[in-house]
């Protein structure tokens, strides 16, 4: 089975591709201007950010990027297309001949190009008498189209490909979080010789369903010795079947010509000066091979949080990667929100020291867990000390013992000397802590110091 995809994604820009109308208009036909309505005399003006994002995506997909690029007019008539031509890229896409890894498999990328979205259109009225209603707010919204070679072997693989590429692009250029539902895909699929195109599938779930249906439809036909007709079909979301699109009354010949209002763009130079970004799955792959952990683990780490992934790399510098991975996915992962909010070298440094202590046997796992929880909550923790619920109390204990160091040696023979410290703290904190809490804190601190003395 061979499947190829044409993916259309909206680029995260504030304004449209060729005019300064907002990409997020409130109310129908409000975010419009002469340009995106195709009024006579209006002109397109290219959005710099959209071009940059397009180049970034092409570069990320390891495409060849030509020195210059330009736009073309694709002429066809439809009520949602204000100029009755779409400004797109035809003979000079931003990127060609790229690739994308899904697990061990390489899916070739044929081309990446920018284009404007038509308006949103819907049909209303009785069957046979429907008119169209159009909202031009979407007209001119920037899209990137990514076209793959027919290298995808199954509907599941198509979905995996889509999931992964969205993860990467989301991080790379900040796509919208809803893209799994809103991405529009045209898919071509051939089980035997002949190819069928399924047009305009919305979202990942529908993509997999549509392809699965079409795959089994084609397989059945082949089994029955019937021919598969090369055609365009639509996926009916409700009935979950693909339906042959009726032959168009008028044949379209897009008659591409260059768009003369925009000029050309030296994208080669722009691409060269752009700093590459390591996307999540690329990072996962690198972590897996560099630290010899399995792929699922590295992916899980990266997908949980980028901060955790960075922390993982740091920990790998001083402790064994498998230990780091276990802690990252365990206690550190449950504290990740707090860690996210308190990014900073000191925190990472503290965690690193706690885990070093565990590896060297200075600290038990449960102690370390307590300390990490405390660190996560933003408490300052004496790394070498045992964990405590309250940093302030522990500080008082530490200070009191520091002032009376003889207690430590006396404690070895007479544990009751601890009562001196306990009494002092009860007096100074005036009932702020339960006495059992204070007793525990004092005992723990003394024991910790003694243990340290021994080692």
């Amino acid at each position: 089975m061979r499947i190829g995809l044409e993916i259309h994604l909206q680029l995260p820009t504030a304004s449209k591709l060729f005019c300064s109308c907002s990409t997020s208009g409130n109310g129908r036909n409000t975010s419009i201007c002469p340009t995106c309505l195709g009024f006579p005399g209006s002109r397109p003006r290219l959005n710099r950010r959209a071009l940059e994002i397009g180049i970034q995506i092409s570069k990320f997909l390891e495409c060849k990027i030509a020195d210059t690029t330009w736009f073309s007019r694709k002429t066809y008539f439809y009520p949602d297309l204000p100029k009755n031509f779409q400004i797109t890229q035809y003979d000079s896409p931003l990127g060609v001949d790229g690739r994308f890894h899904v697990g061990d498999k390489i899916i070739r990328i044929m081309r990446v190009h920018l284009e404007e979205d038509p308006g949103r259109i819907k049909r209303v009225g009785k069957s046979g008498e429907e008119v169209s209603l159009i909202d031009y707010n979407r007209s001119g919204v920037p899209l990137v189209e990514i076209v793959t070679a027919p290298d995808i072997a199954s509907p599941t693989e198509a979905r995996d490909f889509m999931t992964d590429i969205l993860i990467e692009l989301r991080h790379l250029v900040g796509l919208s979080g809803k893209d799994e539902q809103t991405v529009r895909v045209d898919a071509n699929i051939s089980v035997g010789e002949e190819r069928v195109e399924i047009k305009n599938i919305l979202g990942l779930k529908n993509l997999e369903r549509g392809l699965s249906f079409e795959a089994s439809r084609q397989a059945k036909l082949i089994k029955a010795g019937k021919r598969i007709i090369r055609e365009t079909r639509h996926f009916d979301e409700e009935r979950k079947v693909t339906i042959s699109a009726r032959g168009k009354e008028t044949e379209e010949d897009y008659g591409y010509i260059a768009e003369p209002d925009l000029g050309i763009f030296n994208v080669g130079e722009m691409a060269r000066t752009m700093v590459p970004v390591e996307t999540p799955l690329k990072m996962a792959a690198r972590l897996a091979s560099k630290y010899a952990i399995d792929r699922a683990t590295s992916r899980q780490i990266v997908m949980t949080s980028r901060t955790l992934a960075d922390l993982f790399e740091r920990l790998c510098g001083t402790i064994p990667p498998e230990v780091a991975a276990a802690w990252i996915l365990g206690p550190l992962s449950s504290n990740r929100d707090l860690l996210e909010n308190r990014k900073g070298d000191t925190l990472a440094c503290d965690i690193e020291r706690v885990l070093q202590a565990v590896v060297s046997g200075e600290m038990t796992d449960s102690e370390a867990r307590l300390k990490i929880n405390a660190l996560g909550k933003g408490e300052s923790v004496d790394i070498a000390a045992e964990g405590t619920e309250d940093g302030q109390l522990r500080e008082l204990v530490v200070a009191c013992i520091d002032e009376n160091p003889e207690i430590l040696s006396d404690f070895k023979t007479n544990r009751r000397v601890a009562n001196f410290v306990i009494g002092q703290i009860i007096r100074t904190t005036k009932g702020k802590y339960a006495s059992s809490e204070i007793v525990e804190a004092v005992n723990k601190e003394i024991e910790r110091r003694l243990r340290k003395e021994q080692s």
Binding site: P40, L46, T75, P79, F85, E249, G255, Y256, G263
Partner: protein, 442 residues
């Protein structure tokens, strides 16, 4: 600009059909410094903008074209919209849905096109400056036929924001008036970059002033198929340039000139056929009746009922030229030929300050003769104006003689961005050649 002026203007317009829409009355205050007109393909918020086409009937743009806005801001009072061939498709202004403008020298003859109304207004209104537009010669040709000076700037020099497109890689907004003086005064107002038109942004600064011209080139290819009267007037003009203005003249060859015409028609119609796709009775201009029709039928009906014959012809030609199977042979080849034409001119203009030719191969024809002309001969009539237009080179047409009391034009072409050379040369020319005009209204 008193009330009587506007009455005279109305009467004049009845006779010459210069304007497709004319202002009702003059301004209430006297703050205006001058009056001007805009070709009907330039968007204006207080007049319809129909570009000579029925398909734009009733279209009142929500904005002013940049050149119109700049003229207004400089104190200009807009008298109205000048008549033109539908979308600029023509050489004689006979393809307008709003009447045919009449030549100021002889009402039985054409004003030339497609800025015919603009040239006639420039000729008949004292102190008037007309905004014209040229794609393949639509300023030079009517300037020549109406005996006025017409400046077509370098491609990109004047913003096209608000210009109803014919061929976006060819269209240029320029000026027509009775003398180069007026053009020198108003050209800096409309020239200059405009963020609303990217193609106007990369231009160098415009600096007008006297420029000394030492030599001009006359391409031998331009001397074929010229009417003897035109040839005589042009030769005499060249003699004047040589003798009175001490310019050296050299005959040169620009072999690619003859390919400019087909290349131009391919590019212009290819672009035009996409530009005109938007006119389908949905968002502006003429509406198409029954919305319950299938969109293909709805669009086709509006378009068929409202486009004129020449518009349909050029849509067909342009659509054909860019179709699968023909695109390489016509569209892409025409792009390559344009580059060759630019390079050929570049070589000649490296050595010479300007290239001079007659503007049109004949004086303005009578309407009865135009009716008998073959299509290809009409297209060929532009063989001298098309090459510099295709190459985006600035050019100016100045009156250089008269035959049977009809004016004859000479076209001077300069390097990209060298409008200063043209205006300076036209100024010198005017010191040694006296223009004739019919009586003007003031």
């Amino acid at each position: 600009m008193d009330a009587a002026f506007f009455e005279r203007l109305k009467t004049l317009n009845k006779r010459y059909v210069l304007f497709s829409e004319l202002v009702d009355k003059g301004p209430d205050d006297h703050s205006y410094g001058f009056h001007f007109s805009a070709k009907d393909n330039l968007c204006t918020s207080n007049f319809q903008t129909r570009a000579g086409s029925r398909i734009l009937e009733g279209y009142r743009p929500p904005f002013d074209a940049t050149p119109v806005r700049r003229m207004r801001e400089a104190g200009g009072f807009l008298l109205g919209k000048t008549n033109m061939d539908e979308f600029g498709f023509g050489t004689f202004s006979t393809n307008s849905a709003y009447g045919v403008p009449r030549n100021p020298f002889d009402t039985e003859r054409s004003c030339g096109g497609s800025s015919g109304g603009a040239a006639a207004a420039a000729c008949l209104l004292d102190g008037h400056v007309a905004l014209g537009v040229s794609t393949g010669g639509s300023i030079s040709c009517p300037a020549s036929f109406c005996g006025v000076v017409g400046l077509t700037p370098t491609y990109g020099r004047v913003s096209r924001y608000g210009l109803v497109d014919y061929g976006n890689s060819l269209d240029k907004v320029g000026l027509l008036s009775r003398s180069s003086n007026a053009l020198s005064k108003y050209f800096p107002i409309i020239a200059g970059p405009d963020p609303m038109d990217p193609t106007s942004c990369p231009q160098p600064q415009l600096n007008l002033g006297p420029v000394e011209i030492r030599s001009i080139a006359v391409p031998q290819e331009a001397m074929e198929n010229i009417h003897p009267d035109v040839r005589t007037a042009f030769d005499r003009a060249i003699d004047t340039l040589r003798d009175s203005l001490s310019v050296s003249v050299e005959e040169v060859s620009i072999p690619s000139m003859k390919y400019a015409l087909p290349a131009y028609y391919v590019l212009a119609t290819s672009e035009a056929s996409t530009n005109l796709a938007r006119y389908c009775g949905m968002r502006f201009g003429a509406k198409g009746g029954d919305i319950a029709l299938h969109f293909n039928d709805y669009f086709s009906r509006v378009r068929s009922a409202n486009f004129g014959k020449e518009a349909k012809r050029r849509i067909l030609l342009g659509t054909y030229s860019r179709m699968v199977g023909f695109r390489n042979r016509y569209y892409l080849k025409a792009l390559a030929v344009r580059q060759t034409v630019i390079e050929d001119y570049g070589r000649v203009l490296k050595k010479h300050g300007m290239v001079a030719t007659p503007t049109m191969p004949f004086v303005s024809p009578r309407f009865t003769d135009i009716e008998r002309m073959k299509l290809i001969d009409m297209y060929r009539a532009d063989f001298l104006t098309i090459p510099p237009n295709l190459a985006g080179l600035p050019h100016i047409s100045v009156p250089c003689g008269y035959a049977d009391s009809m004016p004859i034009g000479m076209q001077l072409v300069a390097r990209h961005w060298d409008e200063a050379v043209l205006l300076s040369a036209a100024g010198s020319w005017e010191s040694s050649f006296k223009y004739r005009f019919p009586e003007a209204i003031r």
